[in-house]
Symmetry: C3
Subunit: 341 residues, 3 copies
């Protein structure tokens, strides 16, 4: 059974990816055609023309409509067919499923659940991405694993001490205890590491020479947005003006049960216009996330071969346990609704 939370906004693509014709994405086991109309509005429909099932993402945009590239049927923003070449009348059953779409924080968000519940206020708060006081490096990474394994990975950064030694990893992360607190449906994991050596990455971008006091504060906005607030100041100074503050923001969009897209942003509040820092961040992130990719794909293979074996939680999994419980509650609530219908 697919384990997706359908009634949620998922980041489908970056706003600047939606130019020059429709784009195809696979989201929660469905093919979706994304497009931007002549007036600039982002839109999404099922990627299948009802005529002969050609993918609408192979088509084109004309005015506010998407036009099938096979035989030219046109569809309006609400999915209703507006024209069929060589035919006067358009039957009312000629329509395609349209998804609610919101464009916000430089991202195109698609609502995969019941359209009447698509409240734009539910879009996750990732405002740093578009905030003029912050600079963001962004990208998209595909992982060959279930989305929940990637939530685990982002919630529990103790793995950075083992997986990411060459970039962001430091021994103190695994050695320092975390506190995990649930408030409502938000779980927050905090780890304070004082008087500690900066990582290779922190030395590069933060310019630290000696030891630092640093923090991780990570929270999950369910079902699958994880924000990592990470930063540091010279040890013992508490001086934010000489420190750095970053947000590593992951918007996870399940492709299917064994693949997930991570639309990520690395936002910072310092050296805003320094392209060299942008470069360093982009390269570090690329190395770091690819290290994760290999492990996560291996986890997925192992999990598929062990459908009845539970994972063994450790002390560092306090946040993971909270996060999984919240996700399970969301999944259970949707199943209850479906059964109740």
């Amino acid at each position: 059974m697919a384990d997706f939370v359908r009634n949620a906004w998922y980041a489908a693509c970056w706003s600047d990816e939606l130019t020059g014709g429709p784009a195809a994405r696979r989201i929660l086991d469905e093919d979706v055609a994304l497009y931007r109309t002549a007036s600039g509005r982002a839109a999404a429909v099922e990627d299948c023309c009802p005529h002969r099932f050609a993918p609408l993402s192979f088509g084109s945009v004309e005015g506010e409509n998407i036009v099938c590239g096979y035989h030219g049927m046109s569809f309006a923003l609400d999915g209703a067919c507006t024209a069929i070449p060589g035919q006067r009348n358009v039957p009312s059953r000629a329509r395609v499923r349209a998804f609610p779409v919101v464009e916000k924080h430089r991202l195109v968000w698609v609502w995969t659940g019941a359209a009447e519940r698509a409240d734009p206020n539910l879009v996750p708060d990732v405002h740093w991405i578009g905030d003029p006081g912050w600079t963001s490096v962004t990208g998209t990474m595909r992982y060959d694993c279930n989305w929940i394994l990637l939530v685990d990975n982002l919630i529990d950064l103790s793995h950075t001490a083992f997986v990411h030694k060459s970039t962001i990893g430091t021994d103190d992360v695994a050695a320092t205890e975390v506190t995990a607190v649930r408030e409502g449906n938000i779980v927050t994991v905090t780890r304070l590491m004082n008087d500690t050596e900066p990582s290779v990455f922190y030395r590069k971008v933060g310019g630290f020479e000696g030891k630092i006091d640093r923090w991780h504060r990570i929270w999950l906005e369910p079902p699958s947005t994880v924000v990592i607030d990470a930063g540091g100041v010279p040890a013992g100074t508490g001086d934010r003006s000489r420190g750095i503050d970053t947000r590593v923001i992951s918007m996870l969009t399940p492709v299917g049960n064994s693949a997930v897209d991570q639309l990520w942003a690395f936002s910072r509040d310092f050296r805003l216009d320094d392209a060299g820092v942008d470069d360093t961040i982009a390269r570090s992130i690329d190395v770091t996330f690819n290290e994760d990719r290999a492990i996560l794909a291996g986890q997925q293979r192992n999990a598929e071969a062990r459908p009845d074996q539970g994972m063994l939680n450790n002390a560092a999994d306090a946040g993971v346990v909270h996060a999984r419980r919240i996700i399970d509650e969301f999944l259970a609530a949707e199943r209850a609704q479906e059964t109740g219908r």
Copy 2:
């Protein structure tokens, strides 16, 4: 369930492909070894030696026999084993299934149904391919879709206006009404486009300067041979001597339920010995069919994800509807026979 018409001749390969040893083809979900004997006769057997299941297509031809490349068992044209190395007696159960084969119109045709029904007169009429009054450019293209989707594609050329703008497409094709007529088991679709701009392709090969009157007459010879009679003359002249006449002939051989080989010929009655025209045709066909390939593979994926959803027919599908009805009748007739056995 596989939806194939088994009692039919399928084009397995071009005659000139059958030199220099056996060739493997997959036809209607079966592996077939094609070969040409020393006397020049084309033949086909199940691609599996009954000894240890090695593919016979890995073997060689000796005289009128095919010899397994693993341990040397020989098989005659009727499939009977004629020799086993290291052994005097050949048991009568040592045999391989032989398929009826006819070579005609520069093609090797294989009968996949009951051998006793393999009437050479049932080979589809595609005589232009070998006709000395015509020149043919030929080729083979694999599509990752069910064969019926490709029949649809060839019967309804309104798609050329959208898919093939850079080569053969013109707007009038989608805009002009078609007539579809069924006579016996042959459906013929006709579209007459008068006083119209020639396509990029027609200008190149036909040398037209002004407008033309042109026609499409397309017919399906069931189960899966489609002939497109397409041509044009200078507008209002009716002068065939200043026009061009072509046949785009598609012999579709299902590989399985989600793949089909199109053995195609583009035959023309003009500039017969002009290699430059051959080149232009080969390049246009390559571009054109690859444009179709992408869409057809997308249709197939969408169709597999929607096993219970029917397609929505438009006015331009008059021919397609006839064609599908005829194919359904053929399929139903075979199922009835199988049940009746």
Copy 3:
């Protein structure tokens, strides 16, 4: 159903492959992490950390332990967890399956069945590989077929006359009768070819100018070790000092039902330090085994498409029939044990 003999030693890798960190292998449909401890001991565990299912082969070795590369859990040689970062107590249920391992004849052998039955004396006798009186060229080849098809191939060398004409094949192999004798669980196939032309390969490495007397003596040590004793002397001389003696040794390790690894050694008792002969052997083996690979993959496809069709045995299959009967007995015995539990 998987047809594996689990209570057996399988060659997992060559001893010299196990340096520089853990290695992953798939054996009998299970992922195994192989490693060598600081003290030099070879070891094998299930390639899955019980914590979050990361492959342990992505980890590292510290002292006598393997350490998970994701969150740093350590496991001792017996599979017991010895340390969990950020946590004082290690629960006793934190353990991974450890496989019995023996290192012998330059190979790392893994026991895939019940640990209490893992008797080191049961390691197949392939002592020539490490014997100072012999020189061995070694390698590993993956075949996309069931392991029993590869046993067939090695037991019945009549195929060399057809498949390997360019290297080791000669016509007399298929033409000469074999004797096949079973003693206990060992089947031995013998073929004596007197006054015969040497193969291309024998001429190269043996330096034969005229005809030779040669022999094949092949035995299966169940479930899947095949030794080919092949050699020759100048015809009529019986003079071993002017002849050559070789062992082609295949240790077959099933990957799954449709793939098998052949860890092979070509051992010889002549020109021991001649690197040119090593080269000739390596190149001939590469050509020869790749010729087999193509056929065996074809057999596998054909066998999967014919689950209910039996193979047709020929006279040359006397050894193969014995070998399959012994393998069937081993498989049946294990099934009986499993049912009896």
